[in-house]
Symmetry: C3
Subunit: 274 residues, 3 copies
């Protein structure tokens, strides 16, 4: 609700998230445009550019779990944009006291759904983008110029007409019963940690009463990686606040052969503390 | 011609391009030197460090297509330098209202050839580089100190003696006939898009009259990726302004097995609009 | 000794080194925390985030060879932290006129051992970290907040109690005889250059009198890569000041099949100059 009660001042920070990778100069060129057009830019931060090509869902996950660590008034630009140059709209939104720019393909869905006071506008590219716009790189030709303008104090209302029919996107919810949670793996991170859709709060006050059974293995819920023996599997509530399957000093993804979309089950022991 | 008519003021932005990769600290250390020596530094931007080792041609392509998106007065440092520590010179140049630093191995060739008013100097490393210079890392020991000095206002003439015999490098030109263009693939990008040497302007006012025939496939020229069906091949004029072969939501490079150096042919339909 | 004689002022530069990779947003989120909490931040520099997971030794090598290229008063944050959330301490140290933050697992060992005036404190996470700290991501929840505070002028003594029993880590020393040096490969870099633990100074005033014999090949010590023929192996004193085996325009690691931990022998010719 903060977005309505207190006017937000730009922090001078712009974050970038994309599926552009680092092998080309697409990201560098976007930064060139930002620096050339924004006077009040303090820092440009790469969230990640390693989103798998066209994977809007992975981008939505990462954006939804990252923005809160930045200061109020930050502009977050997220470009995973298989529909670039088509009729799909570009969005400029205010939510949680931050600004968000992305194509209208669900990428902003989780962020916007979490703030009832979110305001969303459809970017008027002809007014705010480059006069000579490509039809294949709106990160450079539309989103970067608008991000620069917002960082310099442009009012959100000036970016284009307000819209309410932006595309939603939600992550599958875990199936929760009294002593059993069926969760889905959303992501394997760099370490091979398997991050699920189960909120750690579902494990209650005594998470260690739960365990995962998978392929004949019983994987205990522990407090942190170092609570497991070297090479052993464990389950924990990770720094996203989500249930994760990990392997001490190794890759759970490689050992278990699990990938995003696979399901795992958590069970709570019926008897007292182990 | 701007470089002669109006004095260029440093923008405080320095870009870096190299084949150093990101696994070592070579790039980070160059930034340390820049930050330690430049007072007026506003931002350091990575263009890319994933140039294939020693691939001067790929570096020249990326630099030539990136610098224009930065503001006037930016210093671009490009280090792909198989001849480091030999008699090869280091160059400091002014062109298009920007500054460029690179070894004299062709890396700056396309940028310099495109500005008749370009001025090129051979860096006096003994004067501007570190007193204790390695023979294997002039990015750190010579180019970074000179970039810092230029960003702080050093006159180009002070970097060393003027030279006119810098090494040229040009990309192969497409072979153009009335209804046929033979182009060469210069680059496959992160998405597997195949970027050719054919300027989009060669397709004239009605690009969609052209198509590529390859291995029995007819690949149409369309406006953007989303104009093709999912998984279909298409051809378009990309954000570099070059003709590109792409695959909607997929990799044209993987599907077609084409690599840089391979040739493709564009043909124009002889009859009216399809 | 400088750390004692002259008070160090923060440079406003913070460097980051980790095994977090670039595919997730862990690094970006740390930068968000730094930017949100530090007022006097000038620049955040990535040293590398491609340290192999949990490889404290590789991290220690890279940190020890990188910090000196930054200006005095820089804060270096290094997080390779398999023991995160356990009883292992977090360290905040002053050495060489720089500040260093890392888990107490040997990562800072070489840096601290090289400065007899180093001062080391155990971070009081409850006081300086987030109130709601995860047990799995102290880069975000403890080290970033402390780095921001140091960059803003917090006195090192305020970070927590002084300790002297920090964990040491040293690299294996080469075995040196009059005309023979047995060295160990510490690292293969992006180019496939094999970096050893032998200091270049061991080769004396005439390095080219030495050579490496390996698998029937005689590899000469030369001045720089370009002194070798294309595709030929060579040995040189690299920009770290260490003996390195390289291949002109190619990968010595790939050709020789050597990996970190393998040993090579340098011999000095007994007769006059070749």
């Amino acid at each position: 609700m903060t977005a309505l009660s207190t006017p937000v001042r730009p922090s001078g920070v712009v974050t970038l998230l994309s599926d552009f990778g680092q092998q080309d100069t697409y990201v560098g060129v976007m930064k060139g445009v930002l620096l050339a057009r924004a006077c009040a830019l303090r820092s440009i931060v790469d969230l990640t550019h390693a989103i798998p090509p066209q994977d809007v869902r992975a981008a939505a996950f990462h954006l939804a779990h990252s923005w809160r660590w930045f200061e109020r008034g930050t502009v977050h630009v997220a470009v995973v944009d298989p529909g670039v140059g088509s009729a799909r709209r570009g969005l400029a939104a205010s939510a949680h006291g931050h600004w968000f720019l992305a194509p209208d393909n669900g990428l902003l869905g989780p962020v916007l759904a979490a703030d009832p006071a979110a305001r969303v506008h459809a970017i008027d590219a002809a007014r705010h983008g480059f006069a000579q716009r490509s039809r294949t790189f709106h990160g450079r030709d539309v989103f970067a110029p608008v991000a620069a303008a917002l960082a310099d104090g442009l009012a959100l209302e000036e970016t284009g007409p307000r819209v309410d029919d932006w595309q939603a996107l939600s992550f599958p919810a875990p199936e929760v019963a009294a002593a059993r949670i069926e969760a889905e793996i959303l992501l394997a991170d760099r370490f091979g940690n398997l991050i699920t859709n189960a909120d750690g709060a579902l494990l209650g006050a005594r998470p260690e009463a739960w365990s995962v059974e998978h392929g004949g293995l019983m994987i205990p819920v522990l407090g942190t990686y170092a609570d497991a023996q070297g090479g052993a599997l464990l389950c924990l509530v990770n720094s996203y606040g989500l249930v994760e399957i990990a392997r001490r000093d190794g890759s759970a993804a490689a050992q278990l052969g699990l990938v995003p979309g696979d399901r795992i089950a958590l069970s709570r022991a019926s008897k007292g503390p182990r």
